[in-house]
Symmetry: C2
Subunit: 282 residues, 2 copies
């Protein structure tokens, strides 16, 4: 049936409780709203669990549940949306597969967060060649600059802004056990990160995305990276304490919040003498 959640009921515009969903009657898979095809041969409607997923995403985006918090139990959500537990379950499964929610048996389902020890540096795929130890948390961070500028075209494009829109631009160096390894230039849309200063960043001890979460309520959910091999320019080389003949990885990343909204663009230069970028293909 691919029942559609009632989005517009002629008489009732919106119910009081937010994100409320009505299905006309359970059991009946041959009554109520069923129209599966909208128009002639359009891609057909979404299944119920997809709609639930969207509603959950909306709640997340609107901050109804903050990163790190529990969301209601599957049974509660099933009641709220008037669907079966299994349907809610499938929606949550999807979100959990995308690392947006985290399930913990016997405890509940949580909004993923960059604050957790376990998932810290989720987006940093750099590993020491000597596999064994994963440094990361012990990184020394040095903020080089933090200024407000106007978006150049490639930055604007990546952030979905128009050229010259105000952006924050910062540069930092990460060193692992004393070795400068990563130089990053980071651009953030000013409208979402107003008030960010080098001091506040320096005072925060933890991954940057955790800082963004707690200080600006911006939760990064997904990212795209484009990797090239480059030679650093003299300034970059100096900051990384290498010669300009030492090739480095250029990792351009666009990071997204809920709704695939780009919220950060960064270019990282990774020194890959004792490290490598690790990737798993399926």
């Amino acid at each position: 049936m691919s029942a559609q959640i009632k989005t517009s009921t002629p008489t009732i515009e919106t119910t009081d409780s937010p994100s409320e969903v009505k299905k006309d009657s359970k059991h009946s898979q041959s009554e109520g709203i069923q129209s599966t095809k909208t128009l002639a041969n359009l891609p057909s409607f979404s299944p119920l669990y997809q709609q639930i997923k969207e509603l959950l995403l909306q709640s997340l985006q609107q901050g109804e549940w903050q990163p790190g918090e529990v969301i209601p139990s599957e049974m509660d959500l099933a009641d709220r949306f008037q669907v079966s537990q299994g349907t809610v379950r499938k929606a949550i499964d999807d979100l959990a597969a995308n690392n947006i929610l985290i399930r913990r048996q016997g405890v509940g389902t949580f909004v993923a967060t960059h604050l957790e020890e376990r998932v810290q540096y989720r987006f940093l795929k750099l590993m020491p060649d000597s596999e064994d130890p994963l440094n990361k948390a012990s990184a020394e961070r040095r903020i080089i600059t933090c200024k407000q500028t106007n978006a150049k075209s490639h930055v604007a494009k990546a952030l979905g802004l128009t050229e010259n829109d105000p952006v924050l631009c910062l540069r930092r160096v990460l060193a692992f056990s004393g070795v400068a390894t990563i130089l990053e230039d980071i651009w953030l849309p000013e409208h979402s990160f107003a008030g960010l200063t080098a001091e506040r960043l320096r005072d925060y001890h933890g991954p940057m995305y955790a800082f963004f979460e707690s200080a600006f309520g911006v939760k990064m959910v997904k990212a795209d990276e484009r990797i090239k091999a480059l030679l650093p320019d003299p300034v970059q080389a100096k900051l990384l304490e290498i010669s300009i003949d030492t090739p480095v990885l250029s990792v351009e990343r666009t990071a997204f919040t809920y709704n695939n909204t780009p919220m950060e663009f960064r270019q990282g230069l990774y020194l890959t003498i004792d490290c490598h970028y690790r990737n798993e293909l399926n």
Copy 2:
């Protein structure tokens, strides 16, 4: 209950039909074999669908269903394993999520293959900077060498062999629209690829992994990559038609068949002047 599939019945060693599974009785979730905990506090048993998944993997590995073929319908498998359709479904879902099986509504479930147009070059993450066109299929391949040697330690380690075990070693160049872009050194365990020659490779038009499938029955399922930035040595530079000052991406890949058995190790040098390695992070 996390029912265990009967693996050893005192009286019957193995049933005739391969991969046959018995569950003592449906319905009864409080009868039959239930022991959920093996010993004191061990990691607890696998759920049924995991066991089904293993059995499916075994069948795949043993070649019961070849790449590109349909596997039995969910109902048939449910009958065969004496579990409900839902349980088979969940097992297949897992395998489909790992690109090992492909579901096609209204048609059936297929063994994934590198031969299909749609998934060709699944493991090649190099993209032209000008997003639009994805060349790939139009690549010109040139085999430089193809010889039998003995595995050096790093190759042996990657392939799970012991040093000096016989391996096939080949080198090739891929060019996209006339531009040499990728130089690859590829090592294969001789025991699985005996008879591979440069001629046979040249005669085959299509991705290498498709060739491995049809010629040697080796299906690559997963791969790990380690990426660094390097300067090419003079020989490499010549083959890529670049100067030795041009940094390139070094992509070391270990590819695995079913069971996480490594079957290939390769080092690729990617010219990233007009291309980039594309990665999505979740």
